[in-house]
Amino acid sequence: MQKERLAFLRIGALFSGGKDSVYAMNLLNLSGNEIACLISLIPESADSMLFHVPFTEQIDTLAEAFGLPLVKVTAAQDELFSLKRALKKAIEKHSINAVCTGAIASDYQRMRISMVAEELGLRVFSPLWHKSQEKILLEETGFMNFILVTATSEGISRAVLGKSFQPDDAGKIIQQKVLSNKAFEGGEAESLALDSPMHKKKIQLTDTLSRSDSEFEHYLSGKAILVDKK
């Protein structure tokens, strides 16, 4: 084999702090790849179609938990332009040659990220793409510790908000016929990953506050702090 031709992947992981982006980069890490940096886009609007919103104001703390450099860009109205800016920055600062995404079923996400990556000559890895959402939710539950921080759909009880998500909770979600996206890919709930094999420190949420705007709209806020892993 011509070893000189082998180029190691240096991956920039699109990172929101939610369960899917964290699970995806853990999977690539487990496949022997190097995660060179985290890349976060902080949406200006809470209605972002492309990027995760909750807890992004604390993204520096969430990223610090991994001990990885963070490339942070505010996502302006033109989200694609912002994404391109963030990826360019990651190429310049951390010499990435590939991107990892936690996309599962959103063509909107996949195609747009792919087109920007094509322009920049980056490969895209989406290890969760087209996997069964039930399976993903169950595997994530077993693989890492995460909580739900928003629940905005019928079928997700307020009681599950803020508690460490367990296989039983996943089982109940999977039974819910009203939920078409069992891993919440459609924004039915948003999550926060507290611990995974790639976390150097665990995240703990303090000063939590919850609020309900209606029967099916529940939100949790709080302060993320880092604690040592034992």
Binding site: D107, M115, E118, E119, R123, S132
Partner: protein
Amino acid sequence: MILKNCRFVITQDSSRKILENVDLHIEDGKIKSISKPGKKKPGDYIDCSDKIILPGLTNAHTHIAMTLFRGFEDGLELNDWLGKINPIEEKLTPKLISLSAELGIMEMLSKGVASFVDMCYPFKETYLVSGKYGIRSVLGPGFSDKSFKEAITFAKSLLKLKSAFFRPSLSHQSIYTCSEKTLLMARDFARKHNIKLNIHAAETRKEVLECYKKNRMFVIEYLDSLGLLDNSILAHCGWITKGEARIIAEKSAVVVHNPVSNMKLATGAFFPYTELSLQNVPIALGTDSAASNNSLGMFDEMKAMCLLNKNNSWDASLAKAQDALDSATIHGASATGFANGSIELGKEADLAAISAKSLELMPLRKDSLLGNLVYSFNSYVDFTMIAGKIVFDKAMLPEWLKRADKISRELNQFIEKNR
């Protein structure tokens, strides 16, 4: 002719029946009847007591005249690869094209392929060689602005033949190889004469990006906006969305999956197997050219289709052996329009026969038959029959290998001189 006492007949009928120990009666090139074994009478019959009979396979997307480029390059991505091949391709003579097509057709017939859909350039040679060997083909002159008239003339001449062995189509390499005006003329011609458009669609991420930048639409959306999807054959489709899968279904287009070629050229594609299946889009199967595969055998392709889609989705229940066989037979027939792809009364007697005593198929039972064929079989078939006529028999192999060797020498001389 009677195929006597067939050990297994994989009918691929609507209930996917597998029959055991039956006689297949063939008359005037068609399946006349299927019956319990009768007494042997003098006449034209073949003892099939140790044979598996299945419908002749369809290679629904290939470029047969590129067979001379088999093994030409390894390790290049699509555009770099084309950059190496295209300049040499331009130097090909009609004779070399003819030899190249002959090599490919011999290989396909020896592996049970009865029909193929070709995206071809100088098309006359492939037509002549197909005729010589008795294989069915959908020949799609690849057209550009410059060659459109010539392609139309060829298509018209095939239409005039009203042959059961040839169908014309119009092929375009990609949405950028000709102007919208030419594409629309091709559409109108195809509609008028009820022939298929054979299109390379959404093969690469680059193509998607370029299309989106220019038209603010993805590739399938763009083709649909021009009315090019109706009744078309869409090859590759590695980069399409759920919405595009719905459009394909609405327009009754057939998609051709090319798993090996896409993987070899590292297009990064994610074939939307589930979306297309949920929309009941026929998914046919193609090898693409020997240059990017490197085989033209459909058993390898069926296996790759199953493995790739199972692994991509982390779902072993997806793309089973039966699905792959459907792709290589009945869905292939949806692409070509030939009345083959299943063994039913009145259908064309296009069949492949495989020895039930093949080592790689054992232990063989009815319940393991499809799995063993798709995941394990990769040898020559015992015979391939088209329209009731045996066009390849294993006994012909020494003679065919001699001919193939002669062709290879000639093709290699050209490659060595021009690479």
